[in-house]
Amino acid sequence: MVGGYELTVSAREDVPRWLAYGTPVLTVLGALAVGAVALLALGVDPVAAYGTMFVGTLTSEFGVSQTLLRAVPLALTGLAVYLPLRAGLWNIGAEGQLYLGAIAGTWVGLNVDAPGVVLVPLVLFGGGVAGGLWGLVPGLLRARRGVNEIIVTLMLTFVGVELAGYLVRGPMRGGEGNFPVSAELPAAALLPELGTVHAGVLVALVATVAVRLLITRTTTGYEVVVTGSNADAADTAGVDVEWVYVFVLVAGGALAGLAGAIEIAGLQEKLRPNFSPGYGFTAIPIALLGRRGALRVGLASLFFAVLVVGGSSMELEFGVPAALVEVIQALVILFLITAEFFKRYRIGVERTRETAPVPAGEGS
């Protein structure tokens, strides 16, 4: 080896304060900067566009209520990914669980005759149960047979989406004409309104706090976290790891199913195929952003909701495709996982010695 310089990578012993607190801010700013380049490419002034996107959204009553409404499914599906993630499992099938919840919620709303006080909770309960059952399949397969939950949750997502498509064209088709849509839910099945938003906002808030309490204050939550940090050690310590796996995927599925039922009973009022703009997939970056705590999942869902709502007003005002928001969302996460590396490792440049080549096996 000739003399020269070499990049060295070594694990950091402790993370500097500025790096720990600065990275989320820096990653968001970095993603927005790339988005600004994309805006310039289409000949739009980034400052004006971002002004509309953030300031416009957060200073209008319409913008704030739309943001809250968007944040509800994002927070619930975000928690659906977050909870299994704490146990070391990936639930990338929140989208399918959400569809199952929407199907069940619609069915209950259309077929149960009861006053609103009873019917609305039943609709939400039905959604949660259906989503939970959709999570039970990968949960049991993972716990009992060691089947990879990533693939099973992913596959069941598409089955769930197609199932909704089948039902609204067949057994559950209602409404007028030949459109693939269910009948409209009766008024008693719809979520009560709270000012400009619906009661689903409260449900999401309660669920977020409940998941936080579950993780931080209960034995089950402790077992989940222990399993997540080291499943073998947890098993040795007497934690029923199989049960934890089933629990997190069922509970996660139930949260996503609840999101589906709320989306129907709060906003859509009927089941349509492909009604979700991918909430369950956006939930994955949200869970990653908030993986240190359920409240952070809630905050991350609010941030993503602002992006989505702001993205549509930007589209209206500047004619810029709202898809820019998806780009920014993805970049935030890609930058974040890059930053994670620099948090964990120190990169240095070292002068390599001019003679003695490094013996094989000793390099690091």
Binding site: V147, N148, V152, M155, A323, F341
Partner: protein, 329 residues
């Protein structure tokens, strides 16, 4: 009925090609130990870049090359994040799919109404002119686009490289036990980079085939979940190229049947239980129900393969999803 079958077979070949291209690449990536959930996004980027290049220059081959390169470029990001930065493979892949979807929707708008000549179906030389008129199988086998034949040719090529060459054995070693491979002197990081980039290039090629040969149009979100099916197909085929050919024909056949069976009368009469049988056939051939088959079949295969530690025997990469690091952490 012969006409229906000929059309169905022809459509099957056309539907199978993008799955075949993307899955062969994903096999290489996964055998090297890296799961790439970004296939859908890489296909979209390949489709748009390929289409835009062909629409600008008029050359489908240049478009195909650019689409392939675009897929490889996106896969390089995945490789840097997962192999060098040791990021979680699931999150990186999902994000690249979201990124590809967003980018192509954003930049694809101006290409939506453009048209191109693209790749035309050609008759195989020498034997083709005589055999293309064969009933039922003729056009499906002997009259396709060059990219269809390329995908087909890649099956034995991938099988040969993976199972009969040094680099193929190194890939398997790196995907099964990177630590042991490293000890044996296999350049683990370089091999993994190669695998991921080859996988992305194939996904990009699959996308370019879609926009240049399959539809000859750019449509937002035109991959329509084929990238996810390709990932399912890898498991269905248990990480083997020849089985991917079988699986792609099956899954492609389902897609073709969904498109072509509308209005087809499948009812039976005169047999016992004709009524319930008709209902069952109607349910089983419902387009939405049929669309679930690939995903359900994949879950079943995964469950069977996982049971009894069959994984080793079928060749599942043991170190899939494990990012390799030389340090002791």
């Amino acid at each position: 009925m012969a006409g229906f079958l000929a059309g169905l077979l022809d459509a099957t070949v056309r539907a199978a090609t993008p799955l075949l291209l993307a899955s062969l690449g994903e096999i290489v990536s996964e055998r090297g130990g890296v799961l790439n959930l970004g296939v859908e996004g890489m296909m979209l980027v390949g489709a748009l870049c390929g289409f835009a290049t062909t629409a600008t220059t008029g050359s489908p081959w240049l478009g195909f090359a650019v689409g392939t390169a675009a897929g490889a470029a996106m896969a390089t990001v995945h490789a840097v994040l997962c192999i060098s930065f040791k990021a979680d493979q699931v999150i990186s892949g999902v994000m690249l799919t979201l990124l590809g979807g967003g980018l192509t929707t954003y930049f694809g708008q101006s290409w939506v109404s453009e048209t191109i000549d693209g790749f035309d179906a050609v008759v195989v030389p020498v034997v083709g002119p005589a055999l293309v008129d064969l009933p039922v199988v003729g056009p499906a086998l002997f009259q396709n686009t060059l990219t269809d034949y390329l995908a087909l040719a890649l099956v034995p090529a991938a099988s040969y490289v993976l199972f009969r060459t040094n680099i193929g054995l190194e890939i398997t070693a790196v995907g099964d036990d990177p630590e042991a491979a490293d000890t044996m002197g296999v350049p683990v990081f370089a091999v993994r980079y190669l695998c991921v980039i080859v996988g992305g290039a194939s996904a990009g090629a699959a996308g370019a085939h879609l926009s240049l040969a399959f539809s000859k149009l750019w449509i937002t979100g035109m991959t329509a979940g084929r990238g996810w099916i390709a990932i399912a197909l890898v498991i269905f085929a248990q990480w083997r190229p020849w089985r991917v050919l079988v699986g792609a024909s099956l899954f492609g056949g389902i897609e073709a049947f969904i498109l072509r069976s509308q209005g087809l009368d499948l009812s039976v009469t005169g047999v016992p239980f004709a009524g319930p049988l008709d209902a069952a056939v109607g349910f089983a051939t419902n387009p939405q129900v049929m669309a679930m088959y690939p995903y359900l079949a994949t879950v079943v295969v995964l469950v069977v393969v996982t049971r009894n530690s069959l994984e080793e025997r079928v060749g599942a990469p043991a170190a899939l999803l494990d990012n390799y690091s030389r340090e002791t952490e």
